[in-house]
Amino acid sequence: MSRKLLIDDVEIEVEDGLTLLQACELAGREVPRFCYHERLSIAGNCRMCLVQVDGMPKPVASCAMGVNDLRPTRDGTPNRVDTRTPLVKKAREGVMEFLLINHPLDCPICDQGGECDLQDQAMAYGGGGSRYDENKRAVDEKHLGPLIKTHMTRCIQCTRCVRFMTEIAGVEELGAAGRGEDMEITTYLEEGMLSELSANVVDLCPVGALTHRPWAHNARPWELRKTESIDAMDAVGSAIRVDTRGREVMRILPRTNEDVNEEWISDKTRHVADGLRTQRLDQPYVRINGKLQPASWDQALDAVADRLTATPANNIGAITGDLAGCEEVFALKDLMNRLDVVNLDCRADGEAINADHGRAGYLFNSSIAGLDEADAILLIGANPRTEAAVMNARILLSWRNSDLRIGVVGPAEDLGYDYDHIGASAADLARLADGSHPFAEVLKSAKRPMVIVGSAATARDDGASVYATAARIADAAMAGKDATWNAFNILHTAAGRVGAMDLGFLPSTNADQSASELDTVFLLGCDAPSISNLQAKFVVYLGTHGDIGAHKADVILPGATYTEKSVTYVNMEGRAQLTAKAAFAPGDAREDWKVIRALSDRVDKTLPYDDLEALRAAMYVAAPHLAQIGHLTPADAKATASLAKSDNGQLSDAPFEPAIDDFYLSNPIARASAVMAELSALRQTATKRTEAAE
């Protein structure tokens, strides 16, 4: 059903269920608003979106008025809506005057200045002045934690932040206390918000009531250079905008990508910016007599080259890390192949995931957008809240809006939604696989079931069996259903993992050395905790931060972080995305692929590409789907069936461990960040307090 409307003399046909505001936008009319937001429920309390509707005695708030609520006209002509009449103009000026009654005139010292909705709309729709002579209301500042700075006198009570925290973040921590002029937004206990998505409320705030504390008074929006890029903090691949001034990343903001992050990003993605300028490796180091000494690029590269040429190829190994982009992984693989090195791996944590059965064996096949359609989800050893926080918001929304059933095998964590806790250990999977557990029936009857395996759930002794059993459960759930839907999903935690697996950075079949027997190891930004147990005599670390890998290294080659180079990241669903270079790497640090290219020259195995274009051309030949930037390249679902038949070992009854111990400290950049350290400490005290209360 659709309905005809006459909006400012333009006749349009709109679908049922739309609001007048959406209809006006479809007709190309701009309607000012503060409280209305497309992704939040409708509050209708700012009254800024008033329009005139024929037959209504007063102007109506268009955001809260559905097109179906309009009474049909007597003669059957379309309802008339006006957004530009003198009445509407006067009404908007009146609303703006009321909003500005208690809003302080402190724009020159307000961090929102320059990107403030109230400022813009006061210019566009407000009257010339105010008739208000009395004292302005003042409101106490609230403590909302280390990320959010409050200036509640500026608040216009749009309640967007309250609705976001409840509906999207799933924590009912913000609320409005008091009525009328005395209404205040508060956390009740003032203990700081404990959500991985909390900083998004600052983006939503149309005024300067909530601003970012870590960047407070650091920069004005108009002096920053904006670079559109991709996040590397988790495997979701959120779209971000990196704001730089000179060579420093001042802030990171979300961009809209409906298929991935909608318009949210996690606190780690946003506030890791200060980690990009601390603990940086800015010059090469070579270990001489047991101590790391500063060295020139020549000395460092020669030391590595000498070692690589002197060591037999089967004693050399290479491991890529969580943040390695496809370009450098490809260059390193190319170089290692030319040196006949077969001990390559990108699964530093020891996950059993492999590419033997095709791409579908290691992808999030149902896609992130597919979560909206899913009607049954089984999480195996996965905690989406810490491993992919933005994705968890999507599950939560789907759970609120539909009859989604969720089952969990693993630790019983607070995910923000209700779920059936099936068991804590891998042995409980067997009951799902043979159908004896009732949740197996839920999966079977679901139209679009999803089985999500955390990558860490396979990093254990019985990992291969967990991997195969999960595939078997997914295979059984898919039987006889839509063939385009693949229920088998791997939840990765590292941005670089899928890309490295796509490029086949995995041990070849004749690799017989385990990592502990290797003599020389090349670490490409690998800072996995297991690295500290490495027994190799010579470790080369190419990375950005002084972390686990750098402490272990004999030669340190400084590289560039994800904001300082243009690389391809493949997110967990298999979507290749390009980051952009927003700033230069500090000191002598160089882009990683250039270092590998320079090294190849020294070992007389020169790689045949001199610039990024040539490197990409070679990479696209090896993995053509990487050229499909921004597009999802689905994998053949047959992998699940063959994977299901692969291994049938014993499942141990050891409980699944969380993949990420500390959400805020999961990679070297985050570990260098003071903001992340503060958040981590806050989370720990809060957890202790909760445990003490129980």
Binding site: G246, R277, T278, L292, G587
Partner: protein, 132 residues
């Protein structure tokens, strides 16, 4: 100031003209901690209708070398010179310092590249990792 430079130069210090004027008309009143000497007209009045008051500098002629207690007397704010009363500076008063502009002790605001203090954080700074 040597007698030669007093005769042959008129910049920087007292001239022989000053010496003659003070010999003829001046009465020595006192000396401050810096060694500057203060004089008053013995008889008659100056163009302001009151006895003139002079200072001769120990070193360079620099009005900022006059300490506040003598500054008050010199400018006819008070009539009693500090040597004739029990002058004590107020406890909140800082010690007098002449204008240091042009010397190594000149005032440098924080952020000036001439200060020896640590430079404040600027955009583009990073903290490099150092092996221990």
């Amino acid at each position: 100031m040597s007698i030669l430079s007093e005769i042959f130069s008129w910049w920087g210090g007292n001239t022989w003209g000053t010496r003659i004027t003070l010999m003829c008309q001046g009465r020595f009143v006192g000396e401050d901690d810096d060694g500057n000497k203060y004089y008053e007209q013995r008889s008659g009045v100056g163009s302001m209708g009151m006895p003139r008051r002079w200072v001769t500098y120990k070193h360079q002629a620099d009005p900022t070398r006059v300490p506040p207690e003598w500054h008050g007397w010199l400018h006819h704010t008070v009539n009693t010179p500090p040597t004739e009363e029990d002058y004590r500076p107020k406890p909140w008063q800082q010690e007098h310092r002449a204008n240091m502009t042009g010397t190594a002790a000149a005032y440098r605001p924080s952020g000036s590249i001439l200060t020896s203090d640590e430079r404040p954080h600027a955009t583009g700074d990073y903290q490099a990792w150092k092996p221990d």
